[in-house]
Symmetry: C2
Subunit: 221 residues, 2 copies
Amino acid sequence: MISEIGATDEAARPLRADAARNRALILETAAEVFAEHGLDAGYDEIARRAGIGVGTVYRRFPERSELVRALFETRVEEIVAIAEEAESNEDAWAGLAYFLEKALERQVVDRGLKEVMASTIQDGEHLSIGRERLGPIIEGMVARAQAAGAMRSDVESTDLGVQLMLMSSISTPAQPDLWRRYLALFLDGLRARPDLSPLPLLAPADEAMHALMCNLRGREI
Amino acid sequence: MISEIGATDEAARPLRADAARNRALILETAAEVFAEHGLDAGYDEIARRAGIGVGTVYRRFPERSELVRALFETRVEEIVAIAEEAESNEDAWAGLAYFLEKALERQVVDRGLKEVMASTIQDGEHLSIGRERLGPIIEGMVARAQAAGAMRSDVESTDLGVQLMLMSSISTPAQPDLWRRYLALFLDGLRARPDLSPLPLLAPADEAMHALMCNLRGREI
DNA sequence: AGTGAAACGGAACTGACTTTCCACTTCCAA
DNA sequence: TTGGAAGTGGAAAGTCAGTTCCGTTTCACT
């Protein structure tokens, strides 16, 4: 309740001009670094690229999770928004395909986002956003696509989650879009067909899916 | 060309009895440790579990790659043998499914093996085994399965390699066999169908597939 | 302009791992 | 049985990334 300049978001005391400038610089640089190296990237790499001291980064974001939250909250929201947009498509199958494509477009090029999406539940106290909201939306679309006879009836929404995370690693410098090939293949396998035998085993439960996602990129919690 | 006891494999000078005993113990223990933690597991963990000193492990296997080779050469051969067995199946589609299943059964429970299979080319000078021999066999089966009209004609053998590596990460403590579900789904997507649109993009080249596999589990080279 | 609080940079510290080294033990051949 | 080469265990040294600390600089307010 004090002044106007440099007050970035949560606390009440405004930052000094140089501090605010550096904070913005850190966010900008960290976005790049996390995209390349994931959420475990060293603060010193961020500092080096930003041309500031490590101490400055630590002072502004003593907890890594604060930095992660500041960077990825809106990115996760964006993906939720994509899901909501997809949901509004009358053709649920098309909606699902759209969601998978747009989500992958984002996750493939940003390793940090991929890791955040793989957590997005009780990650400390942060980012308990994504999956809780995404889950029900995907579930609804899956149910509608199955009811419409477009999607085989023995898949569940967690199956899509698992495959989404797997496909988000499929990219090489030579063929950055390679994931599109496997998305197409996956979607073909998802279609309802008269002659399919039912899938073996149960679809993973939500927590199982989460555990799996964490495994996929070494990250704990 | 000297004696008989304790001569383990390559060099000519035999090991002393206690050294030979420890070497066997190291191999036995390292197999476990690598299966759990992958090829980068610390020598100290191996030593601790074997109840010997770290120095002993370093003296016997100064280069990690020697240890890896000693442990995994036969395991890789085993997988090549599975491929050859699969190849002998008149029904190429069934052969491919058999190969994927048996290879996954082995890779899923052994993180070390998974990593070795992801390299198996110019890994130092070692283990230049697997893919060079596996590649042509899979290619042949794919071609035959396509000629027989069982498999869609727009997939290639490298597509199978990519998916094999991805699926080998799908396992949770609660559902260790979960990969079987996604293998079934993948195979369904692989079947020839009159109504499929062709897959987008080119299948990855051999080196692209290799680069991808390395990415998948942080391991370089 | 002057002053004190805030912020800065980067050297120093920390702790986890990896590797080497060496005083002591074990084996084996004479 | 004994001499000495081979082998052993684990402490010490070396690495390396992550974090803290503090002398110096910058800012904002008077």
